[in-house]
């Protein structure tokens, strides 16, 4: 490579930057950005969008200057290679890497993750009812209101065993208060869900929406007994575990913190005669009665005798933990 045409490279780089900006702009305008980034991260996306437009424009202007080399020629000491290295083919490959996400972003359909991803990630039933670290650590807490230290002092070995094995709590202890939207300290937190449970108890039908999804998942775990026999309606995509019977189904939702890469899956068990007609990944509206049931040894709410209707994908297919 005898001569490095920096003005040409500045030009191409500028256009690639504009390409990124256009992709982000299009995703923002079309609203499809919700498939990739959580709403609370949007300010960063706007920042990236504007910065890319500015950088791209600057870079294209830089390319028009004949003496673009002047400031950043080989004599510059800024300590990194300003030049895209290698023979032409390598340069082409490097630029292709940058163009790839732009092309994929425009051409491939914007969709939310589906049940194959859900299966891979492993579904969390209820609010994460199973005894996770936090949960078993605080397992004895709910009913007795004793704190963790007391729980430990009562039975140090057993307590630590639970903590380490992440298991061993019997189902009574599983009533539980871990959730990702847990903002308050333990008491305020319990209080919040107690109030929510009492409020919901007076409603004829519990309607689960995007906004209260994770709250209701949690409250149904913590105070399941209060909800048995109540009617509930919920929307989610249909999902089946391999060991499910014909009348069993899950209405599942992905929950996203920052971006799709960190999405987790939450689901509610449904028992219905109509379940066998539902294909996986179709969005369903379920209306039924809450009962307590068991799956994999955990006590869970299950929606029985559910009436299932296929519905369109909700505007926001993901649910988000709310840091109240």
């Amino acid at each position: 490579m005898k001569h490095y045409d920096s003005s040409f490279h500045a030009f191409i780089q500028g256009i690639i930057l504009i390409g990124f900006a256009l992709l982000m702009l299009w995703l923002t305008i079309s609203g499809n950005i919700i498939y990739y980034i959580a709403p609370k991260m949007m300010p960063f996306v706007y920042f990236g969008l504007v910065t890319f437009f500015i950088l791209g424009t600057v870079q294209i202007f830089r390319s028009t200057k004949k003496e673009a080399n002047h400031e950043h020629g080989p004599s510059c000491s800024c300590g990194h290679d300003h030049q895209i290295p290698g023979p032409p083919l390598v340069k082409l490959a490097i630029y292709s890497v940058f163009i790839l996400p732009v092309l994929l972003g425009f051409v491939l359909p914007d969709r939310s993750l589906d049940s194959s991803a859900a299966q891979n990630r492993g579904i969390t039933y209820g609010s994460g009812n199973a005894p996770s670290v936090t949960q078993s650590a605080s397992a004895a807490e709910t009913e007795t209101k004793s704190n963790r230290a007391e729980a430990y002092l009562d039975d140090p070995e057993g307590y630590m065993e639970q903590l380490e094995n992440g298991e061993g709590a019997d189902t009574e202890d599983l009533e539980e208060h871990y959730t990702i939207e847990d903002f308050y300290d333990q008491e305020g937190f319990d209080q919040y869900y107690k109030e929510l449970a009492n409020k919901l108890e007076h409603q004829d039908v519990i309607t689960v929406t995007e906004d209260n999804y994770l709250d209701i998942m949690t409250v149904m775990d913590v105070h399941l007994d209060q909800f048995i026999g109540k009617d509930i309606e919920i929307v989610g995509f249909a999902y089946r575990e391999p060991d499910f019977e014909d009348h069993e189904l899950v209405a599942a939702r992905f929950s996203m913190t920052c971006c799709t890469a960190d999405a987790g899956v939450y689901g509610t068990l449904i028992q219905s005669d109509e379940a066998k007609d539902i294909e996986e990944d179709t969005w369903i509206h379920a209306y039924g009665t809450i009962e307590a049931s068991e799956y994999n040894g955990y006590r869970l709410p299950v929606i029985t005798d559910a009436i299932l209707n296929e519905v369109d994908e909700p505007e926001s297919p993901y649910v988000y933990p709310s840091f109240r």
Binding site: Q13, I15, L17, I18, L22, L23, L25, W26, S30, I33, Y36, F44, F47, T51, L55, V58, R62, E71, H72, C76, S77, C78, G79, H80, I94, F98, P101, L103, L104, F106, V107, L108, P109, R111, S112, S116, N120, G128, A130, P131, S132, V133, T134, Q135, A137, S138, R148, M160, L163, E164, Y178, I180, F183, Y184, Q186, C258, C259, A261, D262, P321
Partner: protein
């Protein structure tokens, strides 16, 4: 028209063609995505694409922040300033570096160009390493997200161990790398000699705010193109792992005391999550993994992951990156095992 002119016309055409292609895609993306051929793609590959783009789109603003900070350091912070504020004792610099790492709220994407720049500017390598591993964990956002994810409990073992280990281990890792590399030069970019150094002095004295802004922007763009390709490749591979690696398999191989820690560390490496969000992912594993392995996941991932490795290779010599990876892995693993043996069993006696 002479051949030189023809070539420059050709190059302009390539650029214009690319721009037109982007504009076309921008205008007709909807129709394209709806064509039958593309709709029929296997859903697993659409999932790969979704995760790939989500990592790229999320990381890019932070990469931009990182390259801007790096460009600002390049232009406004001189080698002399760094020398003046650095403790003379090589190992004595480790502790303040870890504290500084806690003050800089930079995530693991943004920290790589910043550290490379600081090292280039004369900061000792091992001090840079302390920054590199401490800053992504020891920052307020990560603290809060871990706090929320693990039950909003100030004394939760995962929260405190994560922060404490990040602080202590960053010093140990920095010290270990000092004993291996001393003050040798490990950046890929050519070392500046005195002549260039001199040149730079005149260079930065250039008057005019506009010129400085322009220079910052040029540096930022060049650096974006230097490291962006590694980020994109790393994101692509991480997306493949996220889609095709069955998490249930992890549980079956990772049930032992030691193997579960190793598995979760490896998993953190492959997933390449942002340190801000990884606590929630760790919490969702809670039911199947031990506390120690979750801490391993949360300490190791931000220090070292797949996309990060690619970026390190962009700046540092391969030998150094490999040594860095080995040391981080050994130190974190050992620390987690010790923690599991001696600290976790007595946790609630202390709090």
């Amino acid at each position: 028209m002479n051949p030189k002119q023809a070539r420059s016309w050709g190059k302009d055409l390539i650029g214009m063609g690319l721009l037109l292609l982007f504009l076309f895609l921008f205008l007709f993306s909807d129709q394209l995505s709806n064509t039958q051929y593309i709709q029929d793609l296997p859903s697993a590959w659409v999932n790969v694409n979704t995760i790939f783009l989500s990592i790229v789109l999320e990381a890019i603003p932070f990469i931009l922040l990182g390259v801007f900070v790096s460009a600002l350091i390049q232009i406004y912070v001189s080698e002399e300033t760094i020398k003046r504020y650095l403790p003379k004792n090589a190992l004595g610099a480790l502790f303040p570096a870890a504290i500084l790492g806690a003050i800089f709220p930079l995530c693991e994407c943004a920290i790589v160009p910043v550290v490379a720049r600081l090292v280039k500017k004369g900061m000792p390598l091992h001090v840079g390493v302390v920054f590199l591993v401490a800053a992504p964990i020891l920052n307020p956002i990560v603290f809060m997200s871990t706090f929320f994810a693990f039950g909003s409990d100030w004394t939760h073992p995962v929260l405190l161990s994560r922060m404490g280990l990040a602080f202590i281990l960053s010093i140990i890792i920095g010290g270990a790398l000092y004993f291996i590399f001393k003050n040798s030069y490990q950046l890929r970019a050519k070392q500046q000699d005195i002549h260039e150094h001199h040149h730079h002095q005149t260079h930065s004295k250039k008057p005019g705010i506009l010129n400085r802004v322009k220079e910052t922007v040029y540096h930022a763009v060049d650096e974006f193109f230097l490291m962006g390709k590694y980020l994109i490749l790393g994101a692509l591979i991480a997306a493949l792992f996220q889609t095709f690696l069955d998490r249930q398999v992890l549980q079956t191989i990772g049930s032992g005391e030691y193997s579960s820690v190793l598995v979760m560390m490896g998993f953190a490496y492959l997933l390449s999550l942002c340190s801000e969000a990884d606590a929630f992912v760790a919490a969702s594993f809670g039911q199947n993994f031990t506390t120690a392995s979750l801490i391993g996941f949360l300490v190791y991932g931000p220090m070292l992951d797949l996309k990060n490795t690619f970026m390190l290779f962009a700046y540092f010599r391969a030998k150094f990156v490999i040594a860095f990876m080995i040391i981080v892995t050994i130190v974190v693993f050992t620390a987690i095992i010790l923690l599991n043996q001696f600290v976790l069993p007595n946790w609630y006696q202390w709090f």
